[in-house]
Structure formats: C-alpha cells, structure tokens
Amino acid sequence: MSDDLPERNRGRSRGRRVRRWVGLFRIAIYRLVARLRHVPRQTIVTVALIAVTIALLMIVTGIAAGIATDSPADSEADVRIVPAGGGTLSSVIDVETARLGNVHETSATLDEREDVAYATPVLVEAVRIRVDGSDETETVLAMGVVPPAEPIAIEGVSTAPLEPGDPHFANGAYDGARTGEVVLTDDAAAAINASEGDSLEVGSSAAATRRRENTGGSLAYTATAIEDTAANGVSGALPIVMLHLSELQSISGADDDDLADQVLVKTGPDASTTAVESAAADAYPNATVQTGDDGQLASIRSNDFALATSLVALIVAVVICSLFVATSAALTIDKDRQTIAVFAAIGFSTRSRLAIVAVTTLSLTLAGALVGIVLGTIGISVTNYVATATVAPEPIATIRPAFGLYAVAVALIAGVLALPYPLSLVARTNVVTELGR
C-alpha cells in the first residue's frame, strides 16, 4: 500500500500539470478572442498579412509543383546523346547543325545492353502534312523514332500506335516494308482537320521530289492515332507528328548517313546511369552525353528549378511571416503588459506567462495560415484560369492536400521564429510598474 503512494503522488502531479496547461491554453484562446474584439483592425490586418503570405507561398509552390509534374522523374531518357554543340531543339532552329550518324546500328548496340531498358534515335524535322485530297497543308514538327517493344512516350507522344522496330530501314537499305503509320497530336490533327484512320500526305517540297524519284510517288500514310496532348502533359501548342525514323529520314534526306538529332537512352530499373553514360560516350566519342535533366528542353522544366522556386518562396514566406507575427505580437504585448503583470501578481510562473503569450501568438499565426490556405486555393485556381486563358495550354499550378499541412507547418515555424521577441518583452515586464500604472 505504501509503495503505491509515490506512484499516486506522481499521477496527481501529472494530472495537475495537464489541467494547468489546458487552463493556460484556454486563457490564451480567450485572449485572442478578446484581442479580436478590442483591437479588431490590428488583429485582422495581422491575420490578413499572414494569410496573404501563406497564400502566395501556396501559389508559388503550386506552380513549382506544376513544373515538377511537367518534368516527371521517370522522364523519357536518363541519358541523351546529342551532337557536340548541338541540342535537343537544334534542328528546329537551324537545319544545318551537326547530327549523329549511323544511329540505327549504334542505338541497337546500346539497346542490347542488359542495363539499358531502351535506346532510340530521334530525328526532328519540320515537314508539311495534309489529309489526302485536302488543300489544307500545315507545317508540323515530325519526330522520327524507332519504337521500342514496350511503348514509351517521347515529348508526351506515345509510341504505342507505331509498330515496334523500324522495318523500312532494312539494315540501311531503306527498302523494307513501309508502315506508313503517323501519330498526330491533337493540335496537329486539328491544324489539318484529320481524324484517326485518314490517309495523309507527308513531305517537304524538296523531299517530295526525291520521294517521287525513289518510289514513283506512291507513298501513303495513315493517321494511326490522335494523341491527347493535354492528357499527356505536353506543354505548348506545337503541332507534332511521330513516325518511324527511317520513313522520316527518307522524306527529309537524312537517310544518306542514317542521321538523327539525338539518341535517347533509358537505363534499366536497377542499372547504373554512369555505366550507360560511359557506353554512350564510347559509342559517340565526339558527341555530348547528357544525363538526367541536362537537356535544354528538360532543364527549364527540371525538378531542380521547381525545388529552387519553392525553396525561395518558403524562405521568403517564413521571414515575412515571422516579421509580421513578431511585430504584431510585440505591439499587442506593449498594450497588454498590465495583464501580464496581473498574471505574475496572482501567482502565474514566468513559464506560464510565456506559455500564454506563445500560444496566443501561435494561434494567431495558425488563424492566418488557415485563411491563407483558403486564399491560396482560390489563388491557384485564378492563376490557372488566367494562365490557360492567355499563354498556357494547360493549368500551370497544381494543388494537393499536402499543401494545407505544408502551409500550416510553415506558418507555425514562422510563429516559433517570431516568438523570442515578444517573449523577451514578457520576461522583461516590470510587474510593480505595470500594476501601478
């Protein structure tokens, strides 16, 4: 029985402590309500400033997350081989830039490696295209690829509708069976008013001459599929078509040396990028081997960029929030020193007084964060509406449930960082002076 006494006393002491903290918490909330009642303008301004900061943080983070989503971790290639001095979009900008040669054989060699999931050359050419018999001709960007057995997406366009391999290449003879398959993005399809299954004419004026010489002008293409680019996350309203590499080479004249603009290499699930990078460098000693998001197109959409943006937003939000909270709390305490002195006079310990002020301050910050989450959600919707109505083909900012927790956490961190100043004012309050005021 006597052994139970210390345990019982400990339990009572713990109970007292819990009741005390619950009571202090209630006082803090009462004080916040009273503050809203007695100095509504100052309180509302503080909450509004915190809310706006948090809302801006959410919008910037939403845009950053949108950018990151646009550049998924499982991008189309871990390693890109591009000509030295060339780049992903070089052919669009300047047709005379260097290209890689002998790409079918080299890609096949890389593709055979166990640590490579697939390797495909990509030739990018501007071509003219129209529905057979139509007068509506459009210039579109054509991507020539060697579709792997397992379909992949290149620039958001899936290779699934294309027959795997490149039968027309025929080991460099370019006399194999032509598939005539063309995948159009919906923008390209809309531009020429094409539907799935339509017969198409593809070529440039110069290439068309050559083609007629080579094949007697009997070439026929079919719109195998229309890709929904919005669903695939392709940015920009650029009309794109995809077809087999050798067939595009034949159209553009790149078949002379089996040319392509780059070779995309995806490493196997557990394979080392370094080994593949080394193999790529061996295959093209004079080319540039880029890994991850080094590519020009990827770099502007990379996760690093998104991370940097959201980090800057985070730091700015924390600093601004802290300053708002610290200033507001200090102003309030300056008016409220007498109450703090009364707490001291009726026996509240310094720790309890500090706790009351801390909880009041953090509650104010939390209120700002909650309003900020609402404003941020609205802000993201407005941002997306404005963006899609003006420059962007699709929403540029995303919103996720985790943003709410993130906003609350950021606001609380800012609140905690702001605490030392108001708490030092509380600790320095001269009880006797304040009681006699």
Binding site: G15, R16, G23, R31, V33, G347, S349, S352, L435
Partner: protein, 261 residues
Amino acid sequence: MARDSPPNENESARARPISDGADRTAAPSSVAVRCEGVTHEYGTGSTASRAVTALRDVSFEVATGDVVGLVGPSGSGKSTALHVIGGLLEPSDGTVDVLGTDLTALSGAQRTRLRRDHIGFVFQQFHLLPALSARDNVALPLIERGVARRERQRRAAALLEQVGLDDRMDHLPSELSGGEQQRVAIARALVADPAVVLADEPTGELDTGTGARVLELLVDVADERTVLVATHDERAMAVTDRVLRLLDGEVRQTEQFGSEQ
C-alpha cells in the same frame, strides 16, 4: 466562507511547507507577517543619482488573523510595503518574513509560488481580464494550481455568491459597475484560500458609499485571514484591528483599536 471547501488533492500545495529550500522558522508562529529594518530604494544602479527611498528602515509585525491598515498620503510607501510583503519587490535591505518564510532568501520563482499558494492580491484598478466572465476571472488563480475546471467553476461560483454577485457570474467586467468589479477582484484574491490578503487602495476607484461596503465585505469574507489594506482613506480604519501610519517611507505611528495606542 472560502474555507468551506473540503481539502482535496488540488489543495496539497497548501499542505506543503511554503518554501522550497528557503529559511523557515522552527516552530509555527502567531505572526503572519514580520518586516525588520526594511528599506527599499527605487532607481538604484544606473539611475542611482535619481534614487528614491520608498521605505526607510520599516519594522512591524502582523499577527495571524489581524486586519491591518497601512495608511498614509500618496508616496508614503504603502504600496511599496505591500509589494515587498507580496514578494513582488525584493527590498534593498532588511528581512521580510511571511508565514515563517524569509522572502529575501527566496528566488523570484519561489516568491511567485508562495504568492500562488498563500497570498491574495486586490488592486485599486481591479485588473480583471476583460475577455473573461466574472466567474472565469475569479477562477483564474486556480489554473496555475492545476485545479480541475469543474472544481474551479464551483469554487468561483461559491465565492461570487459570498460577495453577492451570484446573478452576475457570466457577466464580463465591462458589464459590471466599479463596486461589482472590485467584489469580483476580492473573490479572485480569496479563491485560492490564501493565508494573507493584500489590498492596495481597494476603494480608490469607488465612491464613498461603495468603497465602505467593499471594505466591509473584504474584511467579512476574509474571515480569519491576515489582511493588510493600503489606503489613504481614513475611514478604512473603521474595519481594521490596527493601523500603521506611514509618512515618507517610515512607520510614524501605530494605532491599536480596542486597546491602548
């Protein structure tokens, strides 16, 4: 009266020795408050050239259960004496003994604990929290003692009933008259069942009639507690057992009622 509540686990703080590691008298004493040679100067240190001596070698004793008035004009040192006895100020010199504990030997935190457990304060400006109802204001000191909310509310209600405000429990201070606010303040000072009550100009903000009634109420509900009332109101003498007259920080005269001066 406030002592009517039965002791419970929340009261264990009162049952403990009143100080942790502080000097303690060897035997229980009938003296609740003892000041010996207490001097206090404001503005020492960096502002020493402008130092003001608020108390000058003040010595007196207050027996347990006595109601003592500290009477004197403004600036005579009455409030300073109360602040020193309440542990809000550490005197520049001398010793202050409250319930057998030398306050000058205690740290600030220990003095706060002693205040929480054994001393009740009544202020001239009431100092009620505007956001809290009368009942919550009265219950405030019990929060620091870790008393359960229901018990806090029960004891606050009982005390408000005692001071005649049973129909004002849920009113905010702004909805109460000055006299009612001071009665709430008196209830708050007594809710933790302190042995010593210190009232600093409790009638200063009230009209004559209300002030007199509040003083009578204070002494009445304080029952057998030791009460020190600092006032410049000569009529306060009517409710005290003894009056200490202060002038320029010194005790000039002691008047004992019901016996020779």
